[in-house]
Amino acid sequence: MIVGKIVRFTAVLPPLIISLLTWLNTDFSNYYMLLGAVSLILITSTDRLKWAGVGLIYLPAAYTVYLLFSGNPAPFLGLATGYVLASPIVFALASYNSKNLSGLFTGYFTAYVFATLLYSVAEGGNTKPETIFTTLVRNLIGVFSRDVINVIPPQNPPIFLMSSITAVATIALMLYTAAKPDGLPHISSEWMGAFLAAIALMGIGLLTVTFYSWLTPVMILGIVSLLTLAAAIMLRWLYA
């Protein structure tokens, strides 16, 4: 049981660390931000705390909307920023609580993307809650209006740090497929074969890209094409 929990926690570690980095870059002058973040996280907790979370969401939301129409938008923006900043943690928690592989994998990816996006926004100089929220909204509108097209600003989390953590999380994701509800993961010969194949292929791909940088677009296109083709053939063959 505890082994499974550790594996799942390790799998969702990267988005949590990126979120932590984001929070460290954020200005805490608006306490509504904290209120929003805490209430959203409480929503995903146990049933008893869930009711407290619902109370914590509706009451401040109604009050800040009242303040917004009274000419004081800061609490509203702070609360909204709190919700947004807490979303990667919420996705990570949902992923952690997921009972199946596809849920865990989807949650991991979504949390990672949101965490990266928010980190980029915060790292781009938008440290105040108000500016974080407005930048996100402007970027979102920009997707449709083609005014602002950089959904993810160029500031990324530190690759050296995240590469190691993501590698560990990736191994944890693979390990979770063999996890048992009671006891240690069962490592079969097929699991080991697939694990070694994945590591070897990624290693070869990474080395090729590193040494032949001009191959990158071709390599990525090739890998995606092969993966897509393999997935399509397997779906056709095995799920007919």
Partner: protein, 418 residues
Amino acid sequence: MRLTNEGFKLLATCFTLTLAATTVIVYPPLTLSVYAVSVFALTYILLTASRLSRIRSTAFGYSRRLDVKTVRPGERFTVEVTLTNLSETPLLVVLNDNMDKLVLVEGPLSVEEKLQPKQSVTLRYRAYAPARGVYRLGPPLVKVVDECGLVCRVIVLEERANLYVFPTMVEKPRLSEGVKAVQNVYVSGTGLSVKYGVEDVFREVSEYEEGQPLKAVDWRRTARMDGELYVKKFDRVNRLRILFLVEATKGSLVGNPPLLDSVFDAVMAVTKSMVESGDIVTVRLLGPTGGNTVTVYNTAGLEELAYLLITSKPVPAYDLVKETEEIGEFDAAFLIGRLVNVRHEQLSQLSEKLRKKGCVLFTLIPALEAENRIQRSLTTLEDMRVDRFLRIANVAKVSQHSLASYLAHLHRVLRAAA
């Protein structure tokens, strides 16, 4: 070999996320991570599918057992399906059983277990059949699933098993009642006939006479003697050819159990007895069209008869003359039914027609057991209708529950006379 729902979802997720990580959101650690997991999932599924494809149905031992010998409508019975892992490796299996139109009373139809080598799992459930007929059990499906639940192989262990549900008898037939009710039967026969051959009962060895077949010569005896030829003689017991003409009309669906069910049950029981005595029995259903005749030569043919009887669908009416236009050579025929659609003259004509062919016709009109005042009134009306038939020779009205014993007695009389 196929993906489970979980396997399908994982592959679809891998495909979607790989596409997203390549085209929309490119952050190298995340992209590589998604690629690695996707490659891992694809490879794992391929390797596991390859391993599972090598598992054959011989890897399992299987048995199905019912706790009753004969299944009757409405009676509950227990089905036990046992699966044993005969392979050398542990297998995670899901055993599913199917039951066609039977009503499940208790227990699951599926069981999941990780079977170690030589270990067994038993699926136990209770069910009942709502009416007479042929029901199907199975086929049992064994789903062998991989440890992660992504790929599975479905193995069908056997064909469907037929479950014959016979009609319920009112009570056990009592021989004394049957004997008392039977009237005198006018039949005659030739007794044992002497034939030459190698079958039936040995009679004697005698000297060869001109004209006797050479295949009858007892060569061993001939060689021991002084040059005379000797032949073996056998008694061949007569085999009666019996025909049952059974009405299958909706008018016979009265009573509880229905009159028709009692007739079928009696015909089935007596046919079994007749066939075991060496007779050949042909059963023809009057009314249903197409495939309504079965000839039973030995006990192996009883299953076909049972299938005919319990799957027959009664019709509103039939034409006796038309149905009996083509009748072969028989020693005795039994017409069983209420004769609602039959006229007095038609029955006489049929009796005469069969007599000319050397066949004696017995007509049995089954009568319902009246249990209340309404049924007694209806029985009185039925008696008035049936009376005109009783004037014809060899026509008898027989109580619903005495039918089997009555037929058995007639058969004994016929055997004695033959």
